[in-house]
Symmetry: C2
Subunit: 361 residues, 2 copies
C-alpha cells in the first residue's frame, strides 16, 4: 500500500525527531520544524491516519506519537538517507582499524571494541570459520622431555602447544612422527581423525609412549575449536546511557542476555559481504531482543571465513548513522583480511601478516 508523499514526510519527521530526543513527537512540533506548508491541525489528521495504518502509536491519549516497529521498518526500507561517511571520518576509522589489527591476539575483540566505541552502543563481533583442516604439522624438538607442536591450518592460522613429557624421547622419533602426521593427517576433517587412524600411525612409528595420541588430540582440539564460532561482545555498559534502559531491571535483563554470548546475530551466511541488515524489535527471534534493534554487517575474512559485526540498541536507534559506520567497518575488514588481492591503500604493510594464537598452557 502506497502512502501519500506528505505522510512519508511526516513519518520521517516523527522517526528522526524521536530518535533524537526519545520523547513522543507532537503535531505542533512537526508543523514548525518539518517545513511542509500546512498547520498542526492538518498534521493531526495525518498522524491519526498513520496511527490507523500501524506506523505510529501513542503511549496514551494525550501524548505525541511514537514510531512502531512497522514504522521504523518503513523508514529503514524506503526513506532512510543512506548515509555515507565523510572522507576524514572514513580515514579516521581505517586508521584506528589498522592500528588495532596489529595486535597479536584477540583481533576479533578489538574489532568489537572499536565498533562499540564508534557507535556508542554495545557491539558484538564474530567469525564463523569455513571448515578447516591441518595443512602442515611441525614438531620442534626442544629437549628430551619437551617439544613444541605447531600446526598450520588451511585458513593460515597457526596454533601451537608446548608439550612436556614425563619420559624422554629422542629426536628421531619426533622426526618420524612429524613425517607420518604430515602424510596422513593433513587435509582431512576432524571426523576422519579416528582412533583407528591414530593407532595405525602409532604402530607405523613404533611409538610406544602415546606420542601420537598427544599429537592427534591436539589436532582434534584445534580443529574443533576452530569450528565453533567465536563471538565477543563489548561495551555493554553503553546501554545504560540510553533512556529506555534507565530501568535497571530492563537493562540487567538485556545485558545478561548479551553477555551470555552470540545467539544474537542472525544466520551468518545469508548475508552478502558488506551487506548491512537491520532487525527491528519483534523481528528478532530472541525474546529478550523483542524491544531492541540489531544492526549487523558482514565481512569476508578470506578462505571462506565469514565474520559479522553487530550492534544492539533500543528500537529508537540511529539506524542511518550506525548502518553507515558498520558498513564502513565491514568494508575495511574485508579489505584487510579478505582474499589475496592486496589492499589498495596499504603501502605500509608490505608483508601480509596473518594471525597467530598464543597458548601458554
Amino acid at each position: 500500500m502506497a502512502i501519500s508523499e506528505r505522510k512519508k514526510k511526516i513519518l520521517i519527521a516523527v522517526v528522526e525527531e524521536y530518535i533524537r530526543t526519545a520523547e513522543p513527537v507532537g503535531s505542533k512540533h512537526i508543523a514548525e520544524h518539518a517545513k511542509l506548508g500546512c498547520s498542526s491541525a492538518t498534521i493531526r489528521n495525518e498522524l491519526a491516519e498513520l496511527v490507523n495504518l500501524g506506523y505510529l502509536e501513542q503511549p496514551h491519549t494525550s501524548a505525541g506519537r511514537v514510531p512502531t516497529p512497522m514504522g521504523y521498518r518503513l523508514y529503514v526500507n524506503d526513506m532512510m538517507e543512506r548515509q555515507r561517511l565523510g572522507m576524514e571520518e572514513n580515514e579516521e576509522l581505517n586508521r584506528r582499524l589498522s592500528q588495532r589489527l596489529q595486535k597479536l591476539d584477540d583481533s576479533i575483540g578489538e574489532v568489537s571494541r572499536l565498533a562499540s566505541q564508534l557507535t556508542d552502543y554495545p557491539a558484538l563481533a564474530m567469525t564463523r570459520q569455513a571448515p578447516v583442516t591441518v595443512r602442515r604439522f611441525d614438531i620442534i624438538y626442544v629437549d628430551a622431555n619437551t617439544f613444541i607442536l605447531v600446526v598450520l591450518l588451511s585458513n593460515n592460522a597457526v596454533k601451537n602447544k608446548l608439550v612436556r613429557l614425563p619420559i624422554s624421547v629422542d629426536a628421531s622419533m619426533v622426526q618420524k612422527l612429524s613425517t607420518l602426521f604430515n602424510a596422513s593427517f593433513t587435509g582431512i576433517p576432524e571426523e576422519q581423525m579416528t582412533p583407528v587412524l591414530i593407532h595405525s600411525t602409532e604402530r607405523a612409528a613404533d611409538d610406544t609412549m602415546g606420542l601420537s595420541a598427544v599429537i592427534a588430540a591436539f589436532a582434534i582440539e584445534v580443529l574443533s575449536e576452530s569450528a565453533i564460532p567465536t563471538a565477543v561482545i563489548s561495551g555493554e555498559n553503553r546501554l545504560l546511557s540510553q533512556p529506555e534502559f534507565r530501568d535497571p531491571d530492563k537493562a540487567h535483563e538485556l545485558m545478561s542476555y548479551l553477555s551470555g554470548g552470540g545467539h544474537i546475530l542472525p544466520a551468518p551466511d545469508n548475508l552478502a559481504p558488506n551487506d548491512v541488515k537491520v532487525l527491528i524489535g519483534p523481528e528478532n527471534v530472541a525474546e529478550e531482543l523483542k524491544n531492541s534493534s540489531v544492526i549487523v554487517a558482514s565481512y569476508d575474512a578470506g578462505d571462506g571465513t565469514k565474520g559479522l559485526i553487530g550492534v544492539v540498541g533500543p528500537t529508537r536507534m540511529d539506524y542511518s548513522a550506525v548502518a553507515a559506520k558498520l558498513s564502513a567497518l565491514a568494508a575495511g575488514l574485508s579489505r584487510r583480511l579478505g582474499g589475496g588481492e592486496a589492499p589498495p591503500e596499504g603501502m605500509h604493510n608490505k608483508l601480509i601478516i596473518k594471525g597467530d594464537e598464543p597458548d601458554g598452557r
Copy 2:
C-alpha cells in the same frame, strides 16, 4: 582503642544484617535476633555510642544504623568469621577451574569469568609477567614465500606468526638466520635488541631482504606485549542486581570505569601469594571506587609471574564469602600454574586476610 565485647557483637550484627538486606538495621531487630541478653533500649544506647565512635551512621534521624567504611574495616580486620569453603564446594570450584584452563586461549578471561560467576560480582583478572626473554627461535620454512616464526619464551609461552613475503627466499637462508638469532637474540631483554645488533646480524647472514628486521621486530613485539600486564574484566552486568546500583547513573559511572581497564587492582607485587586484600570504600585510590569495595587475591603462576583476581562490589559486600571464594580460587590457580612443588590438593593454605590502614584519605 578497645571496644567492649558487647559493642563488638552489636557491630557484627549490624554489619551482617545490613549485608544481607541492604536496609538500615534497627535496635529492635538486633535485640530479637542477635541473642544478647538485653533489651532494645540498651542496644539503642550502645548504637548511639558506636555512631559516636564512627563505626556506624544513620541515614537520617529516625532510621536504623548502617556501617561506615571504618565499621566495615573493623569488622573485616577483627571480627569476620574466616569462612572456609566446604569440601564439596571446594571440589566443585576446582573442577570448574580445571575445565576452564583446558581451553587453548584466553585462560585469564576464563578465570575472570569464573570468579564473577562464583561471587556474583564483576570480577577482574590480570597477570603481570616477570620480564621474559626469548629462549629459542624456530623458523619453519613453508614455501619460498612463506615461513612461520615460532619463539619459545622464558616463561614457556610459545608465540608464532605466519610471514608471507613478496619475494622468495631459499631454505638455507632461513636456516642461517635461525642459527644466528638463537646465538645472539636469546636470553636478552627487549632493550638489548638494538638496531645495531639487528644490523650486524643482517650482515652476518648476507640478508639483503630485511628478513632479520622482520624476525627481530616480531621478537620485540612479543616481548613488549608480554611486559604489559593484561587485565580482563567480566560480569559487569552483575552490578545491576545490587540495590545500590539501581541508579543507572551510578551504575554507568562505575561500569564504564571498570571496562576502562585494570587500574583497579592495587600494587601487584606487595601481595604474598594466596593473600587476600580488602579495600573498603574510600581506601581505594580511584575516585570512582570511593563508594565501592574491592577484594583481591593473588596467585603465583610460576616463573616469577604474578596474577591477581579481584572482585568489585558495593561496600555492603559479603566480604567473608567473597574472600573465601577468591582465596580458594587463587590457591587453585597457584597449584595448577605455579612452580613445580604442588601443595597437596586437599589441604588449603591458611587464609590470610591482610588489613589496611583504616586511615583511607
